[in-house]
C-alpha cells in the first residue's frame, strides 16, 4: 500500500510539472466550465418558468444537485479520466504490453498515470455553485451533514470510475472504442436529474445495479437534509452499489486481460 502511495506521489508531481507549462489553458478551461454551467442554468430556469417544483425539488435544490453532479464528475476526471480514456489506444497500439510488465497492479498502472489539474479548477467552480445554492436556500449544513456529503462524493467517484473503466475494457474486443467517451457522458447525463422523476424498471436498474441515479442525489440530499426517512438506507444502498460496480469492473478487467493477445503479433 505504502509503495503505491509513493508511486502515485511521483506521478502526481510529474503531472503538475507538465500541466504548469500550459498556464493560459487553465483560464480557457474555466471559460468552458462556465459556458456549460450557464447552459444548464438556462435549462433549469426555463423548466421552472413553467412549474413550481419537480416532486419535492425546488429550483435552487436542482441547481445544488447540478453542482454536486458536476463536482463528482470533475473529481473523477481529475484523477482518472485521461488515463482510462487512453486504454483503447494502449490496446490498439500494443503499448499495453509495457503496462503489464510493470511490477505494480495492472489496473493501478493504467488508471493513475496522469492527473488533470484543469479539472481541479473546474471543481472549484462547482463548489462555488453549491455554496451559492445553499445561500439561496437559506441552509447552513451541520458538520455531520458536510462529512456525509464528502464521504458519499467518494462513492460517487467510484461509480464514475467503474462505469468508465468497464467501457474502456470493452476495447479489448471493440477496436478504437472512441464511442465509449460518449457512452460515459451519455450514461452520466442521467445523474443530474432529481431521483423523483425516474420510475419502473429503469429506476430499478440505475439505482440498484448501476447506481447512477444515486450518485449525485444522495450527497445532495445529505447536504440539504431533505431525506424524509432514515438516512442510513440510502447511504448503505450507495455504498453497496459502488462496491458492486467497482468489483464488477475489476472482474471484467481480469477477464479481458486473460484474453489479451497484444497487437502486431
Amino acid at each position: 500500500m505504502r509503495r503505491y502511495l509513493e508511486i502515485y506521489g511521483i506521478m502526481l508531481r510529474n503531472s503538475l510539472i507538465r500541466e504548469m507549462s500550459f498556464k493560459a489553458n487553465f483560464l480557457l478551461w474555466i471559460a468552458v466550465e462556465i459556458c456549460w454551467f450557464g447552459g444548464q442554468m438556462v435549462f433549469i430556469e426555463v423548466l421552472f418558468q413553467h412549474v413550481q417544483s419537480i416532486g419535492d425539488w425546488t429550483k435552487w435544490q436542482m441547481v445544488l444537485l447540478l453542482g454536486t453532479h458536476q463536482l463528482i464528475g470533475q473529481i473523477f476526471q481529475a484523477f482518472f479520466f485521461v488515463n482510462v480514456a487512453n486504454i483503447p489506444e494502449l490496446v490498439r497500439t500494443g503499448k499495453m504490453d509495457f503496462m503489464l510488465l510493470l511490477p505494480v497492479d495492472s489496473q493501478f498502472a493504467v488508471s493513475t498515470r496522469q492527473f488533470g489539474l484543469d479539472n481541479v479548477v473546474n471543481g472549484m467552480v462547482s463548489i462555488g455553485i453549491i455554496t451559492l445554492s445553499l445561500a439561496k436556500l437559506g441552509l447552513r449544513p451541520e458538520t455531520s451533514q458536510v462529512l456525509l456529503f464528502l464521504g458519499t462524493l467518494g462513492f460517487g467517484v467510484a461509480v464514475h470510475y467503474s462505469v468508465m473503466f468497464f467501457l474502456a475494457t470493452a476495447s479489448f474486443w471493440i477496436v478504437r472504442a472512441q464511442g465509449l467517451f460518449s457512452g460515459y457522458f451519455n450514461t452520466f447525463a442521467l445523474g443530474r436529474y432529481p431521483d423523483v422523476v425516474f420510475h419502473g424498471i429503469f429506476k430499478l436498474i440505475f439505482s440498484w445495479i448501476i447506481p447512477i441515479i444515486l450518485v449525485a442525489n444522495v450527497p445532495s440530499r445529505f447536504l440539504m437534509g431533505s431525506f424524509s426517512g432514515p438516512v442510513f438506507y440510502p447511504l448503505l444502498q450507495l455504498a453497496l452499489g459502488a462496491c458492486f460496480v467497482l468489483a464488477a469492473s475489476r472482474f471484467f478487467w481480469k477477464f479481458a486481460l486473460a484474453r489479451y493477445t497484444s497487437a502486431s503479433s
Binding site: N25, L28, V32, C35, W36, L47, Q49, H50, S53, H199
Partner: protein
C-alpha cells in the same frame, strides 16, 4: 473532376464501415439521454395542468425523437479533431501539393460518415419508434417532406462548416479542445438539442433566431412538425441558407490566412 471526391467518399464509406460495432455501441448509449429527457418531461407535465407553450406531453416526446433523428443526420463526430490533427501534425502538406481541395475532401468524408452512421442508427431508432409509436405524428402535407430534406441538408452544412472553421484555428493554436468545447456548449443548449427554443421567453427567441444554432436542429424539426408555415417558413429557410453561406465565407477566409501561416511542422 468530381471523380476524386466520389473516390474519397467511397473510401470514407469503407473506413467507417470497419467501425460499425463502435457506431452501434455509441448510438445505443445515445438512447440513455433520451430516456432521461422523457422522464424529466413526464415529471414536469405531471406538475402542470395545461400544456407548456404549444406542447403537450406527446408532442414534447415527439420533438425529442425528431431531435435524435436530425442529430444523427447532421452532427459531425470527430471531424474537427481529425482536421486539427492533420494541421498540427503537418499532414495537410500532402493536400496542399495535390490538385485536391481540402474542404471538398473533408466534405466527402463527412458525408460518407454520416451516411454509414445514419444507416446503422436505424436499429436504435426503430426501437424508439416502436416504443413511442403512440406519439409519432407524420406531416399532413406531402410538401413538408422535400422542405424538411432541404432544411436538414442546410443544417448539416452549418454544423459541418462550424466544426471545420473551429478546427482551422489549429493553424494558430496548439490546443483547440477548449475552443471546441465552448462551441459545443452553445450548440448543445441553443440549437434546441436540450429543450425546444419556443418554450423560452419570446424576446429571447427573437434574438436567438438570428444566430446559426437554432438552424442546426430546432428549425428542421419545426419544419417536420409543421409548426412553421407560409411566410415564416420561407424567411427561416432564407436565414438558414444565409448562415450556410456566411460559415462558408468564414472558413474560406480562415483557410487562406491559415495556409499562409502554415509551417508544415514535422513535414
Amino acid at each position: 473532376m468530381f471523380l476524386k471526391y466520389t473516390k474519397t467518399f467511397g473510401i470514407g464509406l469503407q473506413n467507417t464501415f470497419v467501425y460499425r460495432w463502435n457506431i452501434l455501441f455509441r448510438s445505443m448509449f445515445g438512447l440513455l439521454p433520451l430516456a432521461g429527457t422523457v422522464f424529466i418531461w413526464r415529471a414536469i407535465f405531471s406538475e402542470t395542468t395545461g400544456g407548456i407553450a404549444s406542447y403537450n406531453y406527446a408532442s414534447m416526446i415527439w420533438y425529442f425523437i425528431l431531435v435524435l433523428v436530425v442529430d444523427n443526420l447532421v452532427t459531425p463526430t470527430e471531424d474537427e479533431w481529425q482536421i486539427a490533427a492533420d494541421i498540427r501534425e503537418g499532414q495537410i502538406s500532402a493536400f496542399l501539393v495535390k490538385p485536391l481541395n481540402y474542404l471538398a475532401y473533408r466534405v466527402s468524408l463527412f458525408l460518407s460518415y454520416r451516411l454509414v452512421y445514419s444507416f446503422i442508427t436505424i436499429v436504435p431508432l426503430a426501437l424508439v419508434f416502436f416504443w413511442f409509436s403512440d406519439y409519432v405524428t407524420l406531416p399532413k402535407s406531402l410538401m413538408t417532406w422535400p422542405i424538411f430534406f432541404l432544411s436538414v441538408c442546410m443544417a448539416a452544412a452549418i454544423s459541418f462548416l462550424i466544426a471545420y472553421t473551429v478546427a482551422l484555428m489549429a493553424f494558430w493554436l496548439l490546443e483547440i479542445s477548449t475552443l471546441v468545447f465552448i462551441v459545443y456548449s452553445f450548440e448543445y443548449f441553443l440549437s434546441g438539442h436540450t429543450f425546444p427554443i419556443d418554450i423560452m421567453p419570446p424576446w429571447f427567441q427573437k434574438i436567438l433566431m438570428f444566430f446559426p444554432f437554432p438552424y442546426q436542429m430546432f428549425f428542421p424539426v419545426q419544419v417536420f412538425m409543421e409548426k412553421v408555415q407560409g411566410w415564416e417558413l420561407w424567411t427561416g429557410l432564407v436565414i438558414q441558407a444565409t448562415w450556410v453561406f456566411l460559415m462558408w465565407l468564414a472558413s474560406q477566409w480562415l483557410w487562406s490566412r491559415g495556409v499562409k501561416k502554415y509551417q508544415a511542422v514535422g513535414g
